[in-house]
């Protein structure tokens, strides 16, 4: 799905996949670079992905999807290439209600408190 990531007053429009198995929201290092983020200046953490442990660094950013936006921590890998941006639980899914119509290719997202 398309998302807009905003940090340092800059925005990038990219695609991201929702990953219920991912604890963190991890974006490609290239996205950080185009937003002027120095990856290694962030909060260090580790994620397990693609059969290996990847060191990632968290940065504050705003992620916009349709009419929804979240201020959250987005993590970027140290040097490893990841094939896609992932929206995981912390900061994203934990704040939203999420539904999927795979047949129609539609994702439903709303505030977790919405009626």
């Amino acid at each position: 799905m398309p998302v807009i990531i905003t940090a340092n007053g800059l925005t990038e429009t990219v695609t991201a996949a929702i990953d219920t198995g991912s604890t963190l929201c991890v974006f490609q290092r290239e996205v950080a670079e185009s937003l002027g983020i120095t990856v290694e200046d962030g909060i260090e953490d580790y994620v397990s992905a693609m059969g290996t442990i990847i060191r990632v660094y968290g940065h504050e950013a705003t992620v916009t999807i349709g009419d929804l936006a979240l201020d959250m921590f987005v993590y970027f890998p140290d040097y490893q290439r990841i094939p896609r941006n992932l929206l995981g639980r912390q900061g994203f899914l934990q704040r939203l209600r999420f539904g999927l119509d795979d047949y129609e290719g539609i994702v439903y997202l709303s505030h977790h408190n919405d009626p």
Partner: protein, 200 residues
Amino acid sequence: MITGIDIAAENTGTINKLLSSEEPLTLVGGEQAEEKVVLPESLKPLLKQILAEMAKGNEVAVLAKDAEMTTQEAADYLKVSRAYLVKVIDRGEIPSRLVGNHRRVKVKDALLYEQSLNEKKRGRIVPPPVKMRDMNKDMKWLAEHRGEYAGKWVAIYEDRLIAACDTAAEVHEAKERAGFPQTLVTYIEEPLPQGMSKKG
């Protein structure tokens, strides 16, 4: 800072019982047990909490809120690198004072920062900083042309391919030159052989 207090497992139950009792808790010492001090009631919940953590195998640290930590101790406590912590201090997010050339951070300030950091990590729904354009055409284009551009970085605006390049830097340059608002930039993954599902 006190960490890793050891206590015999068989004594934990007895201590818990004493701490849960309404009777005052008395500290007895001396060779003949002749010295006795009644401990304040307010100490009981703290001791119970310490025991509960120790029972879980956690290390326990007792810190006075006004005590000071070095930047390394504060970084270890917050589970961030010292370099990151120094930047946070430089941004004024944690107050500090200089002792010679070294910075000191109050425990209570580190605790406050930890709280705000955890809040930020939980995420917060905010008004969108930008209005997102309709991206249906972009996503349709991606679905239709995925195979042709596998392994490439592409920039798309609606149903138009702006650029397809080997690196993100090249595609960003092309995107900037084209000047369309909210141009979608994405890496198109190599397809897997049929019958193979993606993992991770």
